[in-house]
Assembly symmetry: C2
Homo-oligomer: 141 residues x 2
């Protein structure tokens, strides 16, 4: 594995890589310490948008956290080929908040975010990137 290197990605490249949406992992402070869960996200006006199942553990933790004003979370997206061992990862850090009913929620609905599991899912969560970093793992020529 001595033929591989890590290369930092600039913010524009990070945003390009994550623009299609898909699976990302949100890390947040839960009742049991730091937790990480996969969610199905979309990009919307430069922010990360996903839905949660109301009254799920994720919802309850986020609800408690978000109630405390600035609730900082991390959101990671990657695409890694386990055979060639090449790929990239992007890390978004910033505050999360619930999308409010009205114009913001209507816009979120139009962004086409789909949750996966069944159940009530009225809640949209938005993460506003404060810091965007990324890295690519390359095979040397």
């Amino acid at each position: 594995m001595s033929d591989r290197t890590i290369e930092a990605l600039d913010e524009a490249e990070c945003l390009r890589l994550i623009s299609p949406g898909g699976i990302g992992r949100i890390a947040y402070q839960s009742r049991f310490g730091t937790a990480v869960l996969p969610v199905n996200y979309r990009m919307h006006e430069g922010t990360i948008l996903f839905r949660t199942v109301e009254e799920s553990p994720l919802d309850e933790d986020l609800r408690t956290g978000i109630a405390g004003a600035e609730y900082q979370v991390a959101f990671e997206i990657d695409d890694i080929d386990t055979v060639s061992r090449q790929g990239w990862s992007v890390l978004i850090q910033g505050p999360a908040h619930h999308v409010k009913p009205g114009a913001e929620r209507d816009a979120a609905l139009n962004a086409g975010v789909e949750p996966w599991p069944a159940g009530e899912r009225e809640l949209f969560v938005r993460i506003v990137p404060a810091r965007i970093t990324g890295r690519r793992i390359l095979a040397a020529i």
Copy 2:
């Protein structure tokens, strides 16, 4: 998407799913708040084991954190099919520590953990699971 449900997985099933090793994401407290990065892990005697590049940002953050006694991290592993929208995720929460030189390090080397990028990588990190939870996303019959 109203035909899908989330099912909780018991600890034995979680351990079975993550036993092959591969890509996992570690979440930890960095200088810039919660951070998440992908690493190449192996299971070793019921613990998560991976290597870091010495003096990398991850190493420096973990080094600072680990120095402060019990350093709690989260480790997430998942396997999600974006076409069928089915899959599973497992979350490990517990303390991380550097593997000490000597018998513990020799055993770690024999566990076959391989880092990806080039560089000095003398450091093994071990996460001892204190809490193991998992969920499966199912399509209804």
